[in-house]
């Protein structure tokens, strides 16, 4: 789906690199790392929002896919209703209004916001706002979903619910997800593959495949715990260094 070839990114100091990485189509990949590891920079490079200092990014069939981006905060326009926020990308890309509206309603109901279409963002809870943000990304038929610590500001219950809903969306739609998080448990629970990044400059420190079955009960599972411990130890070691 996506290939990073010897990517370097530098502002005043080197931020990232070298990154050599291939993200498989329809996979769910999490990126773990401490603050300043360049995780968000990696997502912005993947979405073409910023350009690498050197190296290149290749998309599958050399064609940039439809990309959805979910930021750490919901990034909603406060003066627009929920439905108008979901329709914003379609307006910006001048897509068919009727079709876009149908899709927007469909995705809002998918994320459990049926009946909230005409609410304003400030009438929603933090979790609901994030659901709008996900619906907005999905309503564009995105095949690559980039998520930058989307659930970091949510309480645990909302977070768990959103994680499950995200997995459901991923499983039912042909979708590649690149998910940045600070939480080891979240990364292991959600992903098929976890990338651990070192900081200054950000590099891929470890690439861990997660094969365990996805279920909340698995948190009691021995294998699940071992994987969490393994990743936590890598992060600890990295921060000690």
């Amino acid at each position: 789906m996506l290939k990073f070839n010897k990517i370097y990114k530098q502002y005043d100091t080197p931020i990232l690199g070298p990154i050599n990485l291939e993200i498989e189509k329809d996979s769910f990949v999490s990126i773990l790392g401490s603050s300043g590891a360049g995780k968000s920079t990696l997502l912005r490079l993947a979405s073409n929002l910023i350009q690498p200092t050197s190296g290149s990014i290749e998309y599958l069939s050399n064609k940039k896919p439809n990309i959805g981006f979910v930021f750490q905060d919901p990034t909603l326009l406060p003066w627009r209703s929920v439905i108008d926020n979901v329709l914003l990308p379609a307006e910006l890309t001048s897509k068919n209004a009727k079709l876009s509206k149908e899709k927007a309603f469909f995705w809002l109901s998918k994320v459990g916001l049926e009946g909230k279409e005409n609410s304003l963002p400030n009438q929603l809870s933090g979790g609901q706002k994030m659901r709008v943000s996900i619906a907005r990304a999905m309503a564009q038929d995105c095949s690559l979903l980039l998520m930058d610590e989307p659930f970091a500001a949510l309480d645990e219950v909302s977070r768990n619910k959103l994680e499950d809903d995200l997995l459901d969306i991923w499983e039912k739609n042909k979708l590649t997800v690149l998910f940045v998080t600070h939480s080891v448990t979240e990364a292991v629970y959600l992903s098929q593959r976890v990338l651990v990044m070192s900081s200054s400059p950000g590099k891929i420190l470890d690439d861990v495949i997660v094969t365990e079955k996805k279920s909340r009960d698995d948190s009691q599972n021995h294998e699940f715990f071992l994987k969490i411990n393994h990743l936590t130890n890598i992060l600890k070691k990295e921060s000690d260094e």
């Binding site: 981006f69 930021f71 990034t75 326009l77 406060p78 307006e91 910006l92 304003l120 963002p121």
Partner: protein, 258 residues
């Protein structure tokens, strides 16, 4: 509830108390009217001269609103130009600052000469526009620049055109800033209109500033106070009007909770 009631009653009674003390002070001390007229004298003067004074209030109001609207339109337009090109901003911003820091009184004679002594109203209008212009420019500029990085990136992700970015993101985002600038600007437009009339004279129409000069020259201090009070009332009405517009327009804006 009691707190709300008090917040209204306390200033009201303070004001009444102040007026009563003023009235008593003037009558007990026998202060002449041409030094300090009693509130009742001022009220009588308003009733006696209400036609002149209302007409002058209307003239000052008209110039203020016109100056305010032209200044706001120009300032928003120029701020939009700034947002589109850094070179335009770098070139024009210093000129805008020069206008802002130059006292209106100092440039009034020049403007008057340029527009002609017979067109004093135009001079007043131009001077009021100059005074009212900067707060809207500075605030709109700030508002457009304050757009959250993530929102801006969202628009970049969907390759929004400059036009769509401006009208769907930057200007709506800047609206609270623009309105704050306009709230300051409307008061300044009034001050500009009055100061300019003091300096430039009034031409054929007479605003409240001219009534103040005229009453001062004739030592008709009650009328002077009456004109002054109408000026204050006009200023308060304009401010409240802008606050109401701001409240109505910003019902949907709530950045903090988002």
């Amino acid at each position: 509830m009691i707190k709300r009631f008090l917040s209204f009653l306390a200033p009201f009674f303070t004001f009444i108390l102040l007026l009563c003390s003023w009235e008593l002070l003037v009558s007990f001390q026998n202060i002449p009217k041409y030094i300090l007229p009693a509130p009742t004298d001022i009220f009588s003067s308003i009733l006696l001269n209400y036609e002149d004074l209302l007409l002058s209030t209307f003239i000052t109001f008209r110039i203020t609103i016109l100056a305010f609207l032209v200044a706001s339109f120009l300032a928003i337009f120029i701020a939009i130009l700034f947002s589109q090109s850094k070179i335009i901003e770098l070139s024009l911003y210093p000129i805008a600052v020069i206008f802002q820091v130059t006292p209106v009184v100092a440039i009034a004679p020049l403007i008057l000469i340029w527009v002609g002594l017979d067109n004093a109203e135009y001079a007043i209008l131009i001077l009021a526009i100059i005074v009212a212009f900067f707060p809207v420019l500075a605030n709109t500029n700030l508002g457009i620049r304050s757009v959250e990085k993530n929102l801006s990136e969202l628009f970049s992700l969907y390759e929004a055109t400059r036009f769509k970015r401006l009208f769907k993101l930057q200007l709506p985002y800047a609206l609270p800033f623009i309105l704050t600038g306009m709230k300051t600007s409307i008061g300044l437009a009034l001050i500009g209109a009055v100061v300019a009339e003091f300096v430039a004279g009034s031409g054929t129409s007479t605003g409240l500033a001219w009534r103040i000069i005229e009453a001062g020259n004739r030592l008709d201090v009650p009328k002077l106070f009456a004109a002054l009070i109408l000026l204050v009332v006009l200023g308060i009405i304009l401010f409240l009007l802008m606050s109401l517009i701001e409240k109505l327009l910003l019902r949907r804006w709530d950045f903090d909770k988002n």
